[in-house]
Each structure stands twice: as C-alpha cells, then as structure tokens.
C-alpha cells in the first residue's frame, strides 16, 4: 500500500508540473490562412481599365470592407473581366486565385447584375477538369442606356455544378457555402 501511495504522489506531481509549464509558453498570434481579405475585378474594354476592389483587413472583425470602383461603364461596350482573390493578412500576402483555379471543380465564381446594367458570360477558357466553368474570367456587355445598379460577385465553395443553370452562371441552384461575397456599385454612362 505504501508503494501505491508513493506512485500516486509521483503521478500527481508530474501531471501538475506538466500542466503548469504549459501555461508559461506564450502563444504566438494565429497566422490566418482561411481568410479572404481582398477581391479585385478588373474590367478591360473600350480603351478603359476599370478596377473594382473590396478590401477587409480585419477579416471577420467589425470593420466593413472598403470598396473602390475606379470608373464607370460605357453603354454598349464589351469588357473582358478577371477576378482575383487575396489574403493580405497572411505573411507573406497570399494570392488565392491560383489555388481556386487548381481546385476549380470545388469552386465557382458567380456574377449577379441587373439586365439593364449589363450581361455577363463566363469565358470559355476558364473551366475545371469536368469542363464546367470556374468563373474567374468572364465578359461583360454594359447595358444600352445610362443607369446605376450593383454587381454582386460570389465565390462558392463546393457548389453543385451539375444543377440546372449553374454552368450558365445562375447561382439559384448552386448550393454550397459562400467563401466571399461582395457587392459593387456600378454606373453605366
């Protein structure tokens, strides 16, 4: 019985000691890997380069993303569009666009715009292994008359790409989870 008591005391002290040591280490801050801080869409056409940027440097923090739109669309013009995603909180800054492209079958970018403001078609050269669109590149035809509206860009993770209309860019049946969603104000001159 004496040995048992001793053994218990040793186990107790060892555990207590290890637990206390644990406390002394100061945890480094988390290097945030999952966050998308910046969504940029560049529209090129009619001699214009229009950049739309949404940047949220506190991630899930309370500050809202800051949006900038460098110019207005010209009615009837066709623009080539390209969207990129970045994590500027990671050190070094991480460009997530290639990652999304590589895992194209698990991602799709959707664009929602009112018909009067414009019409968007996925670029044929940006498809996943199954031939389904990824949506990082697209073309936009601006509406025929001056108006204002919004362009909503959504990055879906694990959408159901086979569902009706999804390959044409209809988000309604896509399912999946939203990784990024930004709404840019758009004006057509």
């Amino acid at each position: 019985m004496k040995n048992l008591k001793k053994a218990v005391a040793v186990v107790f002290l060892t555990l207590l000691n290890s637990a206390c040591n644990n406390d002394d280490t100061v945890n480094p801050p988390v290097n945030e890997e999952e966050v998308i801080t910046t969504v940029t869409t560049v529209l090129t056409g009619g001699g214009q380069v229009i950049t739309l940027t949404s940047r949220d440097l506190d991630g899930d923090g309370p500050n809202a993303p800051i949006q900038t739109v460098s110019g207005n669309l010209v009615a009837g013009t066709t623009y080539m569009g390209a969207t990129t995603f970045k994590n500027e909180l990671a050190n070094p800054v991480e460009d997530l666009t290639t990652e999304i492209e590589e895992e194209g079958a698990a991602h799709q970018v959707f664009y929602q715009i009112a018909p009067a403001v414009g019409a968007i078609t996925y670029a044929a050269n940006n498809v996943d292994v199954n031939g389904k669109p990824i949506g990082l590149r697209f073309s936009l035809v601006a509406g025929s008359a001056a108006t204002t509206g919004t362009l909503t860009i959504t990055l879906k993770h694990l959408p159901n790409k086979a569902a009706t209309g999804v390959a044409q860019g209809n988000i309604a049946n896509a399912g999946g989870a939203t990784d990024a969603m930004v709404v840019f104000p758009i004006a057509v001159n």
Binding site: L15, C20, N22, D23, N27, P29, D60, P65, T150
Partner: protein
C-alpha cells in the same frame, strides 16, 4: 433477486399468549443500528426507529412469515415459530447484487430532501446505443438540445451546458461543456445508474448547477463473483450499431474490478425523404475500476477513455446570411448525396481521458474521511471545410487539462449527517494557434478552491431537514489576441486597458484576469405524511461565473455561420430556485408532480444584435448579454399498473422562460412535451415485454422575435427580405415500438433479444431544440435489433 437468510440471535420465550409483542433491533454486520428498515411479521409491519429498534404487537402465535428489508441490504425472509412475546434481533448484510431502480436513488442519495429522479440499469441497457442526453430524456423535465443527429446535450428544466454539471463517479466532467455543440464525453454503457437532481442542492459537486446535476454511478458488485455482459446493437438508420462488453469481478472484501469496452460505427443517417449527408459517427470507449476494500478503508481507482468522431451535416455548413435565408426559404438541404459510411469535413474529433483515485477511511462508526484526486484531459478538434482541400488541419484545436482534489469528512449518527469538505482545482486550456483560424476560445488557466458543508437532520422516519452552504474562489487568466478594431468596437479601452500586454500588428495581446467569489446555499425539507404521500421542498441559491465562451468568444462561429461576441463585462449569474416534489401513491397508480420557479439574476444568453459585413458577405452578430430571467414550469410523471401485465407510464413537462427586463420570452426554451408508454409484460413467456411509446412535442408558442431583415440579390439587384429565424417548427407526434424476450442459454447464462422501431410512422418533422433545424429534417424510421448476453 436472490434472497439470503443471514442470521439472527437471541430467541427468548415469554409465555404462550395468542397475541404476542415482538421487539428487537436491526443492525448491520458491524453492529451499526439501521433505521427505516421495513419489518414485517405475520400481517403486521413497521419500520425501525433511528436507533434500529422496532416493536410489533398483535402477532398471533404459530408459524409466521418474517420479512426484513432495507435499501442496500439483503432482504431477510424466513418462517419462524412464534410462541410468545419475544425479542428478535437481526443483522442485515450489505446488498451484494446489482442495485436497481428506486434503491439506488436512496443509496447514493446526497440527502433525502432533494428532488431527484433516477434511471435504472435496464433502461440504460435498452438505450445502450444512444447518447447520454437521450437516456436522460426518460425523466420528465429533461429535453434534448441537438446539433444535427449525433450531438446531444441534456436540458434540465430549460437549462443546459455550463448550467448542468455532469458528475461521473464523483468527478465533475470537464469536457468543454460550455459549447452547445459539445456533447458530454460519456459512454452510457459505463453507467450503472443515473440520477438527475433538479436544483443546485448537490453542493459537494459545485455551487453553480443552476439547471440541475446529472450524477452517474457505476454498477457495484459486492459479492464474490465474476460476471460479464455484452450488448450488440444494430440499427437500419445509419446502417451501423455498437457493441459493448463489460466484465466485472466483485468482492465483499479485497480486490474487485471491472472493465468496459464499447465500439460504435454508424454511417449517414436518413431523414424520411433524403440522406442526411455527412452525419456518420464512430467512437470507442474504454473504462475500468480497480477497488480494494479493507476492514475500515476502501481504495478505488478509475480510468476512462472516450473517443468520438462525428460528422456535421453537410447542408448545415453555410457561408453568410444569404445561405441561411435560402435554407429557410426552401426548407430543403442544399446538398444531399448517396449514403456513405465515410465522414468528411466539417466534423468533430473528441477525446476525453479521466483518471481518478479515491481513498475512503472509516475512522469509527460515525466518522468517515474521503480523499480523491482526479485528472482529466479533453482534446477537441473541429475540422471545417477548408478552401484548400489539401489542408486537413483542424480549424479549432482545444486541449483542456483539469486536476481536482476533493477531501471530505462525514460525520453521521442516527439523527444527523454532516458532510464538509474542500475542493481544489486547476484547469489549463491550450488553444493551438497552428490551426490558421482565429480561435473562438483563447488559452486560459483557472485555479479554483471550494469549501462546503452540508447537514441533514432526520427528526424521525417521516421528517427530515437539510441545509448546505458552499463558497468558491476562482482565479482565471486568459491569453488572448484581440483585433484592435474589435477592442474598439467593444469599447474595452476605458475599462480593460490594464489587460493589454503588447501590440502585435493589428492586434492587442491581452491577459484578461478575473477573480470571482461564488456563494451557494441550499435548504431542503422532506415530509412523509403517511406511507402513500410524500412532500419534498428545496430552496437553493447557485452562483455561476461566466464560462470562457461567454467572456471571450470573438469571431465567426463556423458551425452555425454567426459572429459570436463575448463580453468581458459579464458578471456572475445567480439563481434562486424553488422546487418541490409531491408524490402520491395509490394502489395501482403513482403520481409525482414537480413544480419549480427559478429566478435567475444576470442570466447570460446569446442575443442577435445586428450585422457585420465581411468580405464573405453579411453575418448576423450574436452577443452574450445579461438579463433578469424567470423560469417556471412543472413536470409530471405517473405510473399506472392496470393489471399485472399492462402498465401505463406518462411523462409531461412544461417550462416557460421570461426575460423580465425586456418583458419578452427567453430563447430556446423546450416546448411542452408529453410522453406516454403502454407496456405489456408477460413473465411466463420468456419475460416478454412489448412497449408502445408515443412522444408528443407541442408547437412552441412562447419565443422571442429575433427575425431580421437583410438584403439578398434577386435578379441582379439587392432586395430586402426577412429571415424568419425565430419561429419554432410545428409540433409533432412520434410513435416508437419496443419488444424483448429473454432466453436461458447453457446453464446460468441468459440472452435477451430486443427488437425496436424508432419513429414508427416515418414522420417528417423538425425540432425547435435542434440547432440545425433550418437545414434539414430529423431522422426517419430506424429498425433496431439488440442482443444482450449475460454470462
């Protein structure tokens, strides 16, 4: 139950009247007087007094049946010839077989003036395949808070999680019980009995049980024997099952041990109309006791390991509020796939180790010392769907280690029982930063010291009083990075600048530290009016300090797509609870009524307060707030034996939660529930038992309105919509079927075969207390087969 005739002494003859008076003393083997022992001679019966004596008059001469029974002791039954008034003393032997039902309730009773209810071993075995919460639901007043179809927590009188401590073998489980999607890490097969105490009166376990306490005790064998039991469960829904084996070596003196192993494997569950994709579960557990019983002392060591991997419904993994709106509007899961056994992210992986050693020493007839040291380690990994599928790192990695020492001294004589003690605890939580995701819960350490004293005074067999008091001191220190924007938004600069240690980019590294003094007290009264009518009343004060998630939560809770914000300003929660039990027994009917009033001052709850827009879109923000709350309700249980074959049981519970400050209802209060069971038992036919159970959950009408408006994109344009998150789903009525038969096998062995059906009508329904109710229906029918071997 096997009956033993023990021994008797002193037979004196006293003449030959036809009517005799018999008196005597009933004691234990060690000569301690036993009170409340039922003594039955001929047609007369009585109970012993606190000094163990009894007296029975009017016993006719001749051969009479003598029957002496006490809870926890072997019943003595024999024929004796009575030839005159005499003294009959008996010694009762401590019970040696597995305890059942009501007996356990009293044996492990913290005190007799508690409102407590018990679940017996046969129910535990019946539900061997289910979770602890499902088992506890057998008691009226207990509801189940679910996250999907695998994660379940008990809700007692409307309260759960940190407010309902779970005590396993005298050790308080420290398994991150603060989270609503953190289920208790316990295998039901390891329970010999489960007691639910509705109130804060079990002060030796802590003073913060605002909802109630769940006490789990092991099966104890006090006879020299070796026995084993195996249970195999198979279920069609989930296409899996579990197998559990327990071996027990009992002994009256010296060494005894038991060992239990359980293995569980289940694939996707199925709702009536679709597969609940990624709802598989698997787990294993091992536990064992090693005891040594000496003349005056006991050693008991216990180790338990519990491990579980649980899939989180794929459809419940949402991004922003648009996804939530879509899920509610369509009432369909956004993703259903074919059945599979595999579990993908999102999922949880949990491990829990518990080891304890206990030494009990009986100094003399009245004084007992008890020392216990326990260590627990809980590791929780939560995996999220990562953007990069190659990244299989957990999104949350928390490891909580808890050491606790408990020393108690018990003094008891026939009238008074005094228990006092000290509890010292140290807890360390390590929140691993390597996840690459900001943790919701920071690393912290906690030191606690508690002192308590509980006294019971038994005036006589019919009346007893109880009073207890407990004081706890806690010191908690966390290490947490706050985004500067969050620190500002929370307005912490004015009050908590002294917590800041240094600057780290766009974050503050802080060390929040809190000292807390917590008081708890309890008064109880029990009165047995006559044999059939009992009244128990309890008034208690409980104080609970905010848990880490209430203080420190900060960020997106991935499991439910909402931003949750703790508050460093939160103070303790204080509950003043009054509850009473009125129990009446008629010839064939027993009814127990338990009304309660729980006034909770500083009630902490999560309230939606608006939106935060991030690059992922808008997320609803839920903040931990405090308010003045009043919970009232009533539980009713009846048992009606129609005849020796047919039985009817009823469980009814109602609870209402009011926010007194806002004059509104409290969120997530269980709906009114009514369960009825018809049981047919025919012992002659291989112990045939057939039961039909009807479970009615009414539509919850009392709920706070937290609906909110948001903008979603319709036809390319932002359009405002309402997101109806508040309205509880419609009530439902389910039928369950159960049947069993037992057959002898070889010589002394037994096999019990059970067939049961859950959700007999394959009802499509959703449950208010399921946090995933927005995303999918509940499980459909499940046909189950259970084989139980006793050998």
């Amino acid at each position: 139950m096997r009956l033993f005739i023990v021994m008797y002494s002193c037979l004196a003859f006293w003449g030959a009247y036809s009517q005799n008076t018999i008196s005597g003393t009933i004691t234990t083997e060690n000569g301690l007087p036993l009170s409340d022992v039922h003594v039955h001679i001929g047609k007369k019966a009585t109970a012993t007094k606190p000094d163990g004596t009894y007296i029975l008059s009017g016993i006719p001469s001749g051969v009479q049946k003598v029957y002496v029974a006490a809870i926890g002791y072997t019943t003595l039954e024999k024929q004796m010839e009575i030839t005159g008034s005499t003294t009959l003393n008996f010694q009762l032997q401590e019970q040696v077989v597995v305890l059942k039902d009501m007996e356990i309730k009293q044996r492990i009773t913290k005190n007799s003036s508690n409102s407590e209810q018990n679940i017996r071993i046969e129910t535990i075995e019946q539900l061997s395949n289910s979770s602890l919460a499902t088992l506890l639901k057998e008691v009226s007043g207990v509801a189940v808070l679910k996250t999907g179809s695998n994660i379940m927590k008990p809700v007692i009188n409307g309260l759960h999680s940190s407010r309902v401590p779970i005590i396993n073998q005298n050790v308080r489980m420290e398994d991150q019980q603060w989270g609503t999607e953190h289920a208790p890490n316990f295998d039901v097969n390891a329970a010999g009995s489960v007691t639910i105490i509705k109130g804060a009166s079990a002060l030796q376990y802590g003073g913060d049980a605002i909802g109630g306490v769940v006490v789990i005790e092991p099966e104890l064998l006090r006879k020299d024997t070796l026995q084993a039991k195996s249970i195999l469960n198979l279920a069609t829904n989930g296409r899996g099952g579990s197998v559990s084996t327990m071996v027990q070596k009992g002994a009256k003196k010296g060494w005894s041990w038991n060992a239990l192993g359980t293995f569980k494997y289940e694939g996707d569950k199925e709702a009536p109309n679709y597969v609940l994709s990624n709802s598989g579960a698997r787990g294993s557990s091992f536990s064992g006791n090693l005891r040594f019983a000496g003349e005056r002392y006991h050693w008991n060591s216990y180790y338990s390991y519990f491990q579980q991997e649980v899939g989180i419904l794929k459809a419940a993994h949402i991004g922003n509020v648009t996804d939530l709106y879509t899920a509610i509007a369509t009432q369909k899961p956004n993703s259903t796939e074919d059945f599979t056994y595999s579990i993908a992210a999102p999922k949880q992986e949990v491990q829990h180790h518990l080891a304890k050693i206990n030494y009990q020493f009986r100094k003399n007839e009245s004084s007992t010392f008890d020392f216990q040291y326990a260590v627990q380690h809980n590791q929780r990994l939560e995996f999220d769907l990562r953007r990069n599928a190659l990244n299989t790192k957990a999104a949350l990695d928390l490891a909580v280690t808890t050491h606790s020492f408990l020393g108690t001294y018990t003094y008891s004589n026939t009238l008074v029982n005094l228990k006092s003690g000290v509890q010292i605890g140290y807890q360390n939580n390590f929140s691993d930063p390597k996840t690459g995701v900001r943790p919701l819960i920071p690393s912290y350490s906690k030191m606690e010291t508690g002192l308590f004293a509980i006294g019971t005074y038994k005036k006589n067999n019919a009346t007893s009083f109880e009073a207890g008091i407990r004081y706890d001191f806690a010191n908690i220190e966390a290490s947490k990075y706050y985004l500067k924007s969050r620190w500002e938004e929370r307005n912490y600069a004015a009050d908590f600048s002294h917590f800041i240690v240094r600057e780290e980019g766009n974050q503050w590294f802080t060390k929040p530290r809190f000292l807390q003094h917590n008081w708890a007290a309890n008064i109880g009264y029990r009165k047995q009016f006559h044999h059939e009518f009992e009244w128990i009343m309890n008034i208690s004060l409980a104080t609970r300090m905010p848990n880490p998630s209430e203080w420190f939560s900060d960020g997106l809770h991935h499991s439910n797509g909402q931003i949750e914000l703790g508050d460093l300003r939160l103070k303790q929660e204080k509950a003043y609870k009054w509850n009473t039990t009125i129990k009446k027994e008629w010839k064939t009917l027993t009814a127990t009524l338990q009304p309660f009033v729980n006034r909770v001052s500083g009630f902490i709850y999560l309230q939606p307060t608006g939106f935060e827009t991030t690059i992922r879109g808008a997320f609803p923000v839920w903040e931990y707030k405090q308010t003045e709350a009043l919970l009232t309700g009533v539980d009713l249980n009846t048992q009606w034996d129609w005849n020796s074959y047919l039985q009817h049981g009823l469980n009814f519970s109602f609870v209402n939660g009011h926010d007194l400050t806002k004059k509104a209802y409290l969120i997530d209060m269980p709906p009114v529930q009514l369960q009825q069971t018809f049981t047919y038992v025919k012992k002659e036919w291989h112990h045939l038992k057939i039961a039909l159970k009807n479970e009615i959950v009414f539509t919850k009408k009392q709920f706070p309105n937290y609906d909110f408006e948001t903008n979603i994109v319709v036809d390319g344009e932002l359009t405002p919509v309402f997101v109806p998150i508040s309205k509880p789903p419609k009530g439902y009525s389910l039928f369950h079927f159960y049947s069993e038969m037992a057959f002898p096998m070889f010589q002394k062995n037994k096999i019990t075969v059970a067939f049961s059906v859950q959700n007999l009508t394959n009802k499509v329904y959703r449950d208010y207390l399921n946090r995933q109710r927005f995303f999918a229906d509940e499980m459909g029918s499940s046909f189950q087969v259970q084989l139980k071997f006793n050998y």
